[in-house]
């Protein structure tokens, strides 16, 4: 049952390298999801660690510095807190960053994959919380790797532009988490060997239910 789906591994991998990275603002701020449609909050970047160099924890700063050193302006450090390092990256580079995190920084499993819907930005954010079992100095650390996929008003899950590269070949543990994000948000993970429904009923034909435009009745 699992072997039948393997041919979709290389559906579309091409356009990743052709676009110059500047097309999208790489320094994407965590846009505020408040409903008011003010001018695009591009002017308000996330509080960068450089902006307030006061009380950043040293160990976490060290980790984020290593990632910045390697990837430069392809990533944005969204926050550095105690035990947590937040990295925002666009979908062209998420695979490389995850590979670097596993191979060079000794992180080895993904704890949680959450989708967050931002309809006003026309984007869906997917947040990976990556931890480490094998390196005891990193036991309390988590890297919060966030990337964003295009969002369509009328989703056809799996057949529209809402796609991200899977991290399953890097972190095996994302398998069920990514399946859950696919059915709940309609984000198709290109290269995932088993993009089937997991929790929803088999005859579910509505919007992906955790999107913001899927409303609970009576609310």
């Amino acid at each position: 049952m699992m072997s039948t789906n393997t041919e979709q591994v290389t559906i579309e991998e091409k356009p990743a390298e052709e676009k110059p990275a500047e097309e999208k603002p790489a320094a994407k701020p965590v846009a505020k999801p408040a409903a008011k449609p003010v001018a695009k909050p591009a002017a308000k970047p996330v509080a960068k660690p450089a902006a307030k160099p006061v009380e950043l924890p040293a160990f976490e700063k060290n980790i984020s510095d290593k990632i910045v050193e390697k990837f430069g302006d392809k990533i944005v450090v969204s926050f550095v807190k105690e035990n947590r390092v937040g990295i925002n990256v666009d979908k062209e580079n998420v695979h490389d960053v995850a590979k670097f995190i596993r191979d060079e920084l000794n992180y080895d499993h993904v704890e949680s994959v959450s989708g967050v819907d931002y309809p006003q930005d026309k984007e869906i954010e997917v947040v990976y919380h990556i931890g480490s079992y094998s390196d005891s100095s990193l036991a309390s650390q988590l890297i919060v790797l966030a990337t964003r996929a295009e969002r369509e008003e009328n989703p056809i899950p799996g057949k529209d532009a809402t796609k991200l590269p899977t991290l399953r070949d890097i972190f095996y543990s994302v398998e069920f988490h990514e399946r859950e994000v696919f059915e709940m948000f309609g984000v198709y993970f290109t290269g995932h060997p088993d993009n089937r429904r997991l929790l929803l009923p088999e005859d579910w034909a509505d919007l992906p239910p955790l999107r913001k435009d899927f409303a609970i009745k009576g609310r």
Binding site: M1, M2, T4, N5, Q8, V30, A31, K32, P33, A34, N83, R84, G86, D108, H109, V110, E111, S112, S114, V116, D117, V127, H129, Y133, S134, A139, S140, L142, V144, G158, F171, Y172, S173, E175, F176, H177, E180, N195, R196, R197, L198, L199, L200, P201, E202, P209, L210, F214, I216, R219
Partner: protein, 379 residues
């Protein structure tokens, strides 16, 4: 039509004469509220595909429509027997968003409640594990003995199962008068009682012959699959969040995490029992060190809200392993997005892996040794 989006079990498969597809569940009592699709060749399992979701209740969606306080009672529903622990990361996260410091006594009360709940949950699990291995004594004893601790929780919170006792800023009520003595007496008796389980269950040659060397998960694979809790520690990885990322007052207590190297069903079923003994130890330490008086709750404004766009990820060690709560707040009274990353869901990935090559008769022992709680996995 490709098989791409067909539900599991309906996908067309090239049938082999020898291979039979068998649906275990969702009504089968041995599978819990889920379906396990197994393909068997004679008596051996060649492939297994878990199909959860029969008790999916959309807790995460509901949380986006309720404010931070009214989220409390429904968020503990995924695991009613472990309701304090399943609420714990949410409460820690909200406190982080609001920037509240919790009184010292409240932290100790939380630790005591959380350890009591861990035992209550584990006893329930142990009862089910016992009956599915055909050991009816091991069903009756834990089901009876957990009443001791349920009574304690009832004294604390007023409810036997769903306590809703943790709130952002502390706990709902202070401990009843005279609680320390009653708790110490009951916990001592409970500890003595569960030590007797070794003779009747864990040292029982029938149990050992059924569970030893079945469903072996090596250390490397446990790390690769990202399993957690007792499954991880049974495979020789010493990872307990109470020690590795201590929350509340766990760093002031002496916590010992139990690790076994074998990685088989026997080790996975023994670790929760050892954890219960450790919980008794922690409760006794906490009772001793707890401040004898003082406030247990910070008063909050009626509709607390965070400041601007913010996100937080807190995790605790629950009865089934690490339990994380990712809250994204946009400065409103409701969470913008709330995600529970639960141990059961993370351990589910090990099931197809462990069952491959096992005999069908070993399926219950492997499945229940994963400490899997279907309602929690579905949320």
């Amino acid at each position: 039509m490709t098989n791409e989006f067909l539900p599991p079990g309906l996908a067309l498969q090239k049938a082999d004469e020898r291979i039979m597809t068998l649906n275990v569940g969702p009504q089968h009592p041995g599978s819990g509220h889920m379906r396990i699709i197994v393909q068997i060749d004679g008596d051996y399992i060649v492939a297994c595909d878990p199909d959860p979701g029969y008790v999916h209740r959309g807790e995460e969606k509901m949380a986006e429509y309720r404010n931070y306080i009214t989220n409390i009672p429904h968020l503990e529903r995924p695991v009613i027997h472990d309701s304090c622990n399943v609420l714990y990361p949410y409460v820690l996260g909200v406190e982080d968003l609001l920037g509240i410091e919790v009184p010292e006594r409240a932290k100790y009360v939380r630790v005591i409640c959380s350890e009591l709940n861990r035992c209550i949950y584990t006893m329930y699990w142990l009862a089910i594990y016992g009956i599915f291995l055909g050991h009816s004594t091991m069903f009756m004893w834990p089901a009876g003995d957990r009443e001791l601790l349920i009574d304690l929780m009832e004294k604390i919170s007023g409810a036997r199962v769903t306590h809703a006792h943790f709130v952002p800023g502390g706990v709902r009520n202070d401990l009843p008068p005279n609680f320390e003595e009653v708790c110490l007496r009951q916990v001592n008796y409970f500890e003595k009682r569960i030590r007797e389980y070794a003779a009747v269950f864990y040292d029982n040659p029938i149990l050992i012959s059924r569970t030893q060397d079945t469903g072996v998960l090596s250390r490397e694979d446990a790390i690769r699959l990202g399993v957690t809790g007792s499954v991880l520690r049974a495979s020789g990885v010493d990872y307990d969040l109470r020690k590795k990322e201590p929350y509340d007052v766990y760093e002031e207590l002496d916590v010992h995490s139990n690790v076994m190297k074998e990685g088989d069903s026997y080790a996975r079923s023994k670790i929760p029992w050892l954890d219960m003994l450790e919980s008794c130890n922690i409760i006794k330490q906490a009772l001793e060190k707890m401040p004898k008086s003082g406030s247990v709750r910070v008063k909050l404004k009626p509709n607390p809200k965070g400041k601007g766009l913010n996100s937080v990820y807190k995790r605790v060690e629950s009865g089934r392993g690490s339990l994380g709560c990712h809250i994204v707040s946009d400065g409103k009274v409701e969470p913008y997005r709330l995600k529970l990353s639960v141990g059961s869901f993370r351990n589910l990935i090990a099931l197809p892996y462990l069952l491959k090559g096992e005999k069908l008769g070993n399926m219950p022992s492997v499945y229940w040794s994963l400490n899997y709680w279907p309602v929690e996995a579905d949320r």
